[in-house]
């Protein structure tokens, strides 16, 4: 987890980056930088869930080189901003556990649907496991995606009438139209 390789932006080693700025314009720049960094980090590490109380275990929120951590209040502000742009959603009411979408659910839907169309798999039933862990999808962006997130994406597609999700106990499948 710690050996995620991304290009750390210059802000990451700038101490004020880890304190929420009160000046409006400065703050919006700061939050924008955080959003980019978080999405990039989660994309590189293929993670989708974030427990805000565990956040400082992740190097992205804790720069040991300059001894700065992002505090929970600031993190929540940033996550709320991510939620506004469709890049994050809390999974519980206390907003402790968050899902991070480096593509919005809609973008994901398009990516997956395009993939299905390309391989001509419409009208056949596929399992979720097959789509996220299978050998065929190793080179796709959604390879290794969290299955809960994946199901959310499919549910969104279902409302558009592009697929039907079938969930029986441990049998999770989907049929695209």
């Amino acid at each position: 987890m710690a050996d995620v390789n991304i290009d750390w932006p210059w802000q990451y080693s700038f101490p004020p980056f880890f304190s929420l700025q009160p000046h409006t314009e400065t703050r919006s720049k700061q939050i924008a930088a955080w959003k980019t960094l978080i999405l990039e980090y989660f994309k590189a590490s293929k993670q989708s869930t974030l427990d805000i109380h565990e956040a400082t275990n992740l190097p992205v929120f804790n720069n040991t080189a300059i001894n700065r951590k992002l505090n929970t209040a600031a993190l929540l502000t940033i996550l709320n901003e991510l939620q506004n742009s469709g890049n994050a959603a809390p999974t519980d009411k206390q907003k402790n556990i968050w899902e991070i979408y480096w593509h919005t659910l809609e973008e994901w839907g398009n990516i997956i649907y395009t993939y299905i169309m390309n391989i001509g798999a419409t009208n056949s039933v596929l399992t979720i496991y097959e789509l996220t862990q299978g050998d065929d999808v190793q080179n796709e962006e959604f390879y290794g995606l969290d299955s809960n997130v994946f199901i959310k994406i499919l549910k969104a597609l279902e409302t558009q009438g592009k697929c039907e999700v079938m969930l029986f106990d441990d049998q999770q499948g989907v049929k695209f139209f």
Partner: protein, 388 residues
């Protein structure tokens, strides 16, 4: 009251009216008398009380020779009395046996009071003090010239000069000993004292060679601690508004220079201390100071009162606005890489409170950004806006 006598109202040769006021009641000691709402004239020779207009009409008036007055005192209304009028107390010597007929044959008290229903000018008492000191009534009239008499003195040779110097010394000596009799007197004498100290300091300057530098400096510091020579006081103004306006001008005179020295901004508490230090005696209340500072804006003074969002109040130069502060502060931060309020305070030689305010102003202009950590608050150049 038994020292008063009925006399002609016309002034004798060489007698001059030095002060007058209307609507005055006489007190025999602590007791009110029937002599009320009259006019009082202080001449170089006596105190005259009469009903309005009687002096001009040259009628018989009540008068009290000044040689019977030991000393005078000002009396402010006490907390418990309802009357707002101010009083001057004249302490008197025993009456002379061969006096004219007066309104009262004997009295229990050896002082009288003049009650000023409408207050009096602030230098009223000091004018009378001056009169008492000059003792003009003792000077025998030698010529018909009324005004020049006292100034013509016989000066013959070196002895004459020496004698006049000696007299001057004696007078100085006397005024110093009177001044230090008690604090109340010192307050009325303050102006005189300051003038005296200025004279002395001028003399010191002339004789710089004779006295060591150290002594001069020390003596000057004593003189300075005597304070400003004419403090604005509430007594001398009819309305609060006027008082605050004059006070504002005086504060601005005193403070502008030290304020520019410390970077153009001074916390109101510091201003308060400095102003009261300069006044020495007639101390200001914080409220008066604040009110005076509030009217500064309308008076085109070089200073203005500024409230920070945090509630801190400061006086600052009119030319110094947030934009300026932000620019200079951000330049300092650029120079040093980053600054804490403490570091900036040391750098500019100002208080931490003010340096913190400066940084917050700079931040609110978007010219720096904060880093809050366990090490404390630190400010960096605003790379969020300037980089990219």
């Amino acid at each position: 009251m038994n020292r008063f006598e009925y006399t002609e109202s016309s002034l004798i040769v060489n007698e001059q009216i030095v002060a007058q006021d209307i609507n005055i009641r006489l007190y025999d000691g602590e007791q009110k008398t029937v002599f009320e709402s009259g006019e009082v004239f202080f001449t170089t020779h006596r105190v005259i009380w009469c009903n309005p207009g009687e002096l001009q009409a040259e009628k018989i008036v009540l008068s009290l020779p000044l040689y019977l007055v030991k000393y005078i005192e000002e009396e402010s209304p006490s907390t418990f009395s309802f009357s707002k009028s101010k009083k001057i107390v004249l302490h008197l010597h025993d009456p002379l046996p061969d006096r004219n007929e007066g309104p009262q044959i004997s009295s229990l008290y050896d002082y009288i009071k003049l009650s000023f229903r409408e207050g009096y000018r602030k230098n009223f008492a000091s004018i009378i003090q001056e009169c008492l000191r000059e003792r003009r009534w003792e000077i025998k009239v030698q010529t018909q010239s009324l005004t020049r008499v006292s100034q013509i003195k016989l000066r013959t040779g070196i002895v004459g000069i020496e004698r006049s110097i000696q007299e001057k010394q004696k007078a100085t000596d006397k005024s110093i000993s009177i001044a230090f009799q008690d604090l109340d007197k010192l307050m009325t004498m303050a102006k005189e004292m300051v003038r005296l100290s200025n004279n002395i300091s001028a003399k010191i300057r002339e004789k710089q060679g004779d006295i060591t530098e150290d002594e001069t400096v020390r003596f000057k510091s004593y003189l300075l601690s005597l304070g400003i020579d004419d403090p604005v006081t509430r007594d001398s103004y009819k309305s609060d508004h006027q008082y605050y306006r004059s006070l504002a001008k005086q504060i601005s005179d005193i403070i502008t220079e030290p304020l520019s020295d410390v970077g153009g901004m001074m916390a109101l508490t510091d201003v308060f201390c400095r102003v009261n230090r300069a006044r020495g005696l007639e101390l200001l209340s914080p409220e008066d100071l604040l009110n005076a500072c509030r009217v500064m804006d309308s008076l085109n003074l070089p200073l203005k009162l500024h409230h920070f969002d945090s509630g801190v109040k400061v006086l600052q130069l009119q030319t110094l606005d947030d934009e300026n502060v932000a620019t200079t502060t951000s330049e300092l931060i650029e120079d040093k890489g980053s600054l804490t309020p403490e570091e900036l305070a040391q750098l500019l030689n100002i208080s931490v409170l003010l340096s913190r305010q400066r940084l917050l102003v700079t931040e609110s202009c978007g010219k720096c950004c904060r880093d809050e950590s366990i090490e404390g608050l630190r400010f960096y150049p605003n790379l969020f806006l300037t980089r990219d």
